[in-house]
């Protein structure tokens, strides 16, 4: 009971203090609001970039071209070896015949050319100049380079494995682009959070100075250090919570609106946005949490620096 009453008193004091120094509190709250808006954009961006990366990952395939004379047995031997390379999700073997059939189906022109490789409706294997392939899927984009290298090493004389291809340039560009986007957003968020924490600590510092006499009397009548410090920490917490309200509202409604407006995709059907629910709840939670932590941290800095007891 006693602890609850003390707790209640601390919260009441902190709340009063927010409104007593309203102009200062307002400045801090505005700063938190702006910071959290940027944080929100950064979070949404990086989650979507991550999501997009995963989508791309699913589609990226390493195509290993084998020598045209490779028999099914030899190809399967390599398939077994590739399966056990770290980061490989699946491997699929396509023989010359399968490739030729796929190509014939895809266009009339191919059909004409390729029918020459047949005799009495049967493929003449040695006539087909195509290369059988092993199609390798990687578990993640970052492992692709390594997997390709390992496949090349399986046959360094290039007797069987002729070419290993996976659109390196496109993939690398994408990865570095994602990386830049992520780094910039993290950098901005960190910088803004620091500025906000500083502003909050300044607000609390002024509160501490304006309540110097009260603090002195509290000490005199036997308030413990915690008794004195906790209301200031709560005040920081309140500033953080109040500052996160507007960003949460804007994020929630804004993201839903954007999602609907773009029909869930950006530029092309490839880049799918994350569905608003439950994503917006996650982002709102993150914003509230950051607001609270920043508020408390700022206030803690001020209390430790200016409240010598």
């Amino acid at each position: 009971m006693k602890a609850i009453r003390i707790f209640g008193r601390n919260i009441r004091d902190a709340f009063k203090s927010v409104f007593r120094n309203f102009s200062l509190s307002f400045a801090s709250i505005s700063c938190i609001t702006i910071t959290l808006l940027v944080v929100s954009i950064a979070v949404i961006l990086s989650y979507n970039v991550n999501n997009f990366t995963k989508l791309v990952e699913k589609d990226v395939t390493i195509v290993t071209f084998l020598d045209t004379k490779t028999t099914d047995e030899v190809a399967n031997e390599y398939l077994e070896k590739i399966k056990f390379i770290d980061g490989v999700e699946s491997v699929e073997y396509k023989s010359k015949i399968e490739i030729a059939e796929e190509m014939m189906e895809s266009s009339e022109e191919y059909n004409n050319i390729m029918s020459e490789w047949k005799k009495d409706g049967e493929w003449i294997r040695d006539e087909i100049p195509l290369q059988p392939t092993l199609q390798v899927k990687a578990a993640s984009l970052t492992k692709i380079d390594g997997i390709a290298d390992q496949i090349r090493k399986l046959d360094e004389e290039k007797e069987t494995i002729k070419v290993v291809q996976y659109g390196e340039d496109m993939v690398k560009q994408l990865i570095s682009l994602f990386d830049i986007v992520r780094k910039i957003s993290i950098g901005m968020v960190v910088a803004l959070i620091l500025v906000t924490a500083f502003l909050i600590s300044n607000t609390i510092k002024i509160t501490i100075f304006s309540r110097k006499k009260e603090i002195e009397i509290m000490r005199l009548v036997g308030a413990s250090n915690l008794n004195i410090k906790i209301p200031f920490i709560f005040e920081g917490l309140f500033l953080g919570i109040l500052g996160s309200i507007i960003p949460i509202i804007i994020t929630t409604y804004g993201y839903v609106a954007i999602f609907k407006n773009f029909d869930g995709q950006l530029f092309s059907p490839f880049i799918r946005l994350i569905a608003p629910e439950p994503f917006i709840y996650l982002v709102s939670g993150i914003l509230l949490l950051i607001g609270m932590v920043v508020g408390m941290f700022g206030s803690l800095v001020a209390v430790r620096k200016h409240l010598k007891i």
Partner: protein
């Protein structure tokens, strides 16, 4: 039984001034003691060490069985809860009413409201300010303000009440009123140590008097033996 014991207490400030020099002294429970002496004789330092506002350079200060000198900073509040302090400048919060100023000392301990009300009204009654509970300090006279401060200091029912020049800002009649209130409180069992310049009051009250000079005890007068020597 001794409530307070100073054992060879010395306090040197960083600037080299020795405010208190090798003082040994004991004060019994329920005593009323005046500490007098000229400005800079160390009387304020002496009582500041009691509620651990200052720390002695050497020696022991035992208050209610606790060595205050050794008390860690974060535990100081424990001794403060057993000691009430009254100052020359009252130290009241002007935004709070008389009632709130006194209740302030209890609220931080999380006492239930009804209990706070009873205790605050009881001490306000004791200092004769029950009818002014809803007024603000600025609406009161100096003497009344000091009585509010006294009420706040004793609402916690401390064993010891320390008064640092409580009548320093007050005229003679008002000072005597304050002294009567303090005497009442003393009679209820609270030990009182009062630092003052006002030797007339000291003479009238007929209590034990400790005369300090340059950080040492010049003379320790038994109860009622002090006579003010006018220059």
């Amino acid at each position: 039984m001794d409530l307070i014991r100073f054992q060879k207490v010395t306090k040197k400030y960083k600037n080299g001034v020795t405010a208190v020099n090798d003082i040994s002294l004991s004060i019994e429970k329920g005593d009323f003691v005046f500490v007098i002496g000229s400005t800079g004789c160390g009387k304020s330092t002496l009582i500041k060490m009691l509620y651990r506002e200052e720390r002695p350079t050497s020696g022991k200060i035992i208050v209610g069985g606790i060595d205050v000198a050794k008390l860690k900073n974060w535990r100081v509040f424990k001794i403060r809860r057993k000691i009430g302090v009254v100052f020359q400048d009252f130290k009241l919060l002007s935004k709070l009413t008389v009632y709130e100023n006194v209740a302030f000392a209890l609220e931080i301990f999380g006492l239930p409201k009804s209990q706070i009300y009873n205790r605050v009204m009881k001490v306000l009654d004791l200092v004769g300010l029950k009818s002014k509970a809803k007024q603000y300090p600025t609406q009161l006279s100096g003497g009344e303000q000091q009585r509010v401060a006294i009420a706040r200091a004793i609402v916690n029912e401390p064993k010891l009440l320390i008064c640092d020049e409580p009548t320093g800002n007050l005229d003679e009649d008002t000072s005597m009123e304050i002294m009567n209130v303090l005497d009442e409180i003393n009679k209820l069992g609270t030990t009182i140590i009062m630092v003052t310049h006002d030797t007339e009051i000291v003479e009238k009250m007929k209590k034990r008097v400790i005369l300090l000079d340059s950080g040492r005890i010049l003379k320790d007068y038994e109860k009622g033996t002090y006579v003010h020597e006018s220059n």
